[in-house]
């Protein structure tokens, strides 16, 4: 059975089309990442899959069930970390796990699960006193209680420090090696690249690219890219004296897509002729990051907001999630 199969899913809040015709399927044992800035529709979509939101249109099958109509049956078979996971202030992680185990009617070894998510040292600390990372780890631990075949992790590492993030990554890799199917949303590209088999990039309710990182780069990348360190003045000179699409990140890195080896020579010549300082000239393939910037016309900052780097680009990315 294909764990998740959706086609032409739509959901609007008033005039805002949060999810606008999304189709994909996720195979058994696959880790599938939905990547995009805030407001792209990731959470709405994942909540439709979890049975927490009603879709306006489209077909959705999760573990063979319609999530909205069969939520109660489905929820026994899936594990979920909702965005902004929260719990009862006056309960500690061990009690939380025992509570969930009783609700699901399963026997668990709470200590083992706590060790698995590296929370065993805080097993007796009340939820209100846990750090953001520890809270998120508890969310992950609770999603593991019912040994679900399919897990939904909605921004599992947002706002966490690098150590906490890496601990959660390890758990997700562990799930993958056990053959569990995982759908996660994130606005960290490196997270998606590190963890997932396939990535879907979402923007304005659409999936703008989907596949493995390589496939996406292949399909949407502009091939070879040349980078050179220098001043804004150099960037302007290169722009004026080559016919390449020269971009500067404002911090001394100038980059441009090149289609043939000769272009590199053109840039080198122009740089020398400018008489300006330059260093570190090299070429590389487009990264997922480059493709992402191209597709959503901006980079995502720590909080998931789009930071437009190309003044000519589309700045609609400021739209916030409901």
């Amino acid at each position: 059975m294909i764990p998740v199969e959706i086609s032409s899913v739509r959901k609007s809040y008033g005039d805002l089309k949060a999810v606008d015709g999304v189709s994909f399927s996720v195979q058994e044992g696959e880790v599938f990442a939905l990547v995009g800035p805030n407001g792209a529709g990731k959470t709405t979509l994942i909540e439709i899959l979890e049975g927490l939101r009603k879709r306006d249109e489209g077909n959705v099958k999760v573990l063979g069930l319609d999530p909205w109509g069969n939520g109660y049956v489905l929820h026994r078979r899936i594990g979920v970390i909702p965005q902004d996971f929260t719990f009862f202030d006056k309960a500690n992680p061990r009690e939380a796990l025992e509570y969930y185990a009783a609700l699901f009617g399963v026997e668990i070894d709470a200590d083992e699960i706590l060790r698995e998510v590296v929370l065993d040292d805080s097993a007796g600390v009340l939820f209100e006193n846990l750090s953001g990372g520890q809270k998120q780890k508890l969310g992950l631990a609770l999603a593991l209680v019912n040994s679900a075949e399919l897990l939904f992790l909605d921004e599992p590492t947002t706002g966490l420090d690098p150590n906490a993030r890496r601990a959660i990554w390890d758990v997700i890799r562990g799930l993958r090696s056990k053959g569990r199917t995982v759908i996660l949303t994130t606005h960290y590209l490196d997270e998606a690249e590190q963890l997932s088999d396939r990535v879907a990039i979402m923007n304005h309710g659409h999936v703008v690219a989907m596949g493995t990182s390589d496939e996406i780069i292949e399909a949407h990348g502009s091939g070879e890219r040349l980078e050179i360190h220098g001043t804004e003045e150099l960037a302007a000179y290169l722009k004026a004296n080559t016919n390449l699409n020269v971009q500067s990140n404002g911090k001394g890195l100038i980059s441009m897509a090149i289609t043939q080896k000769r272009d590199a020579l053109t840039v080198l010549t122009a740089a020398e002729r400018s008489g300006l300082e330059w260093r570190d000239l090299h070429t590389r393939r487009d990264s997922l990051d480059d493709v992402f910037v191209k597709l959503v016309a901006g980079r995502i900052d720590e909080k998931g907001e789009i930071r437009v780097e190309n003044p000519g680009g589309n700045s609609n990315g400021q739209r916030r999630r409901k």
Binding site: L52, G71, K90, A91, E95, Y99
Partner: protein
């Protein structure tokens, strides 16, 4: 469909959280006991039933002494002697007293001689104590008048008590404050948590577990039944042991102690559910709760209130709970309690069903 294991584990988690929260414990258990101690202490002396009657005896004869002794033995008034040298009315106002009696000189001599003689009564007609004093003094005077001519009373009174006990204020206060705690804890708590859990999306999360919303509400209802039972025991113990309240304990109390918290937990849930924000919920909750807190017979019997407020009290759900508790605990009036119980059961079922229907785990 409800599953006892899930209800119990939710009850355990919630109860543990409650016990770890000092504010909850205070308002749930300690505050009602403090109220009983305060109100019991304030009114236990003032309602003793004896009125201080200040007197000056200008006579000094045997008859006046015997007259005063008879008056004292009615136990309706407590006689306080004022020295002859004092200006009587100044003395009364200096002691914030309005009831006084002056026995004139030659009282005894005139009595023996059969000459008319008047005692002077001071009183404030606007105070109920004055009419009690007039009645008591008149009664004693009639007795002395009859005795003077060797007569005996033709019409007498044979007394029976209407209630097993003379009801004292504390007897009203205990059921009233039990009603108060049945109202306050579940109502405020459910208004708060149902709107707060909605805000922080905790309900949404719980909807991802097999816990159903009926099970969730059932566990809250169970918790507040246990809490009410505990505070019932505490308040009854304080009422009886500290203030000597006369209270009947009967199995009839159980349905009120079960349905009461169930009703207010459901009502609180309903308010929290239909309100858009935590702030609105708390305002609506207060609007519903405060009139009930004072006008349902909590701190004083509603018979002391003006008629229109008594009518108003009859639309307050808490009235029927306290009326029922009074019926059982004070009067042993089970017929009245039965009517109250039917009303309480009906509104409880309506509130519980409405709360579980309108309450949504998840949004569309």
């Amino acid at each position: 469909m409800a599953n006892a294991r899930r209800i119990i584990s939710d009850l355990r988690l919630f109860g543990r959280g409650y016990l770890r929260n000092a504010a909850g414990l205070f308002f749930g258990l300690i505050f009602p006991v403090i109220l009983i101690l305060i109100f019991g202490a304030i009114f236990s002396s003032g309602f003793s039933g004896t009125i201080s009657l200040y007197y000056q005896n200008h006579d000094g004869g045997q008859i006046s002494t015997s007259f005063l002794n008879t008056l004292n033995s009615t136990s309706m008034v407590k006689l306080v002697s004022v020295s002859d040298s004092e200006n009587f009315s100044q003395y009364l106002s200096a002691h914030s007293a309005s009831d006084g009696l002056i026995i004139p000189p030659d009282f005894s001599a005139n009595y023996v001689a059969g000459q008319p003689v008047n005692v002077t009564l001071y009183g404030n007609p606007s105070q109920s104590s004055s009419s009690i004093v007039i009645g008591t003094v008149t009664g004693v005077i009639n007795g002395f008048n009859l005795a003077r001519y060797g007569g005996s009373a033709i019409i007498g009174i044979s007394q029976t008590t209407a209630n097993a006990q003379v009801t004292k204020y504390i007897d009203f206060l205990v059921p009233g404050l039990i009603g108060f705690s049945i109202l306050v804890s579940p109502m405020f708590s459910l208004v708060n948590i149902s709107s707060e859990y909605k805000r922080i999306k905790l309900f949404k999360q719980l909807s991802l577990t097999p816990l159903t919303k009926i099970e969730w509400l059932a566990s809250k209802v169970l918790f507040y039944i246990l809490l009410s039972a505990t505070s019932f025991l505490l308040m009854t113990a304080v009422g009886v042991l500290v203030f000597g309240a006369h209270i009947v304990l009967s199995l009839w109390l159980i349905p009120f102690l079960v349905l009461g918290p169930m009703f207010f937990a459901s009502l609180g849930m309903l308010v929290g559910t239909v309100s858009k924000s935590t702030e609105t919920a708390s305002v609506v909750g207060n609007i519903i709760t405060f009139p009930m807190m004072f006008l349902s017979g909590t701190f004083f019997p509603i018979s002391l209130m003006p008629t229109y407020l008594q009518y108003f009290a009859h639309v307050l759900p808490l009235f029927y709970i306290i009326d029922g508790l009074n019926g059982v605990m004070i009067y042993g009036n089970y017929a009245q309690a039965m009517i109250d119980l039917v009303v309480v059961a009906a509104i409880t079922i309506i509130a519980f069903v409405a709360a579980t229907r309108l309450f949504k785990w998840r949004e569309d």
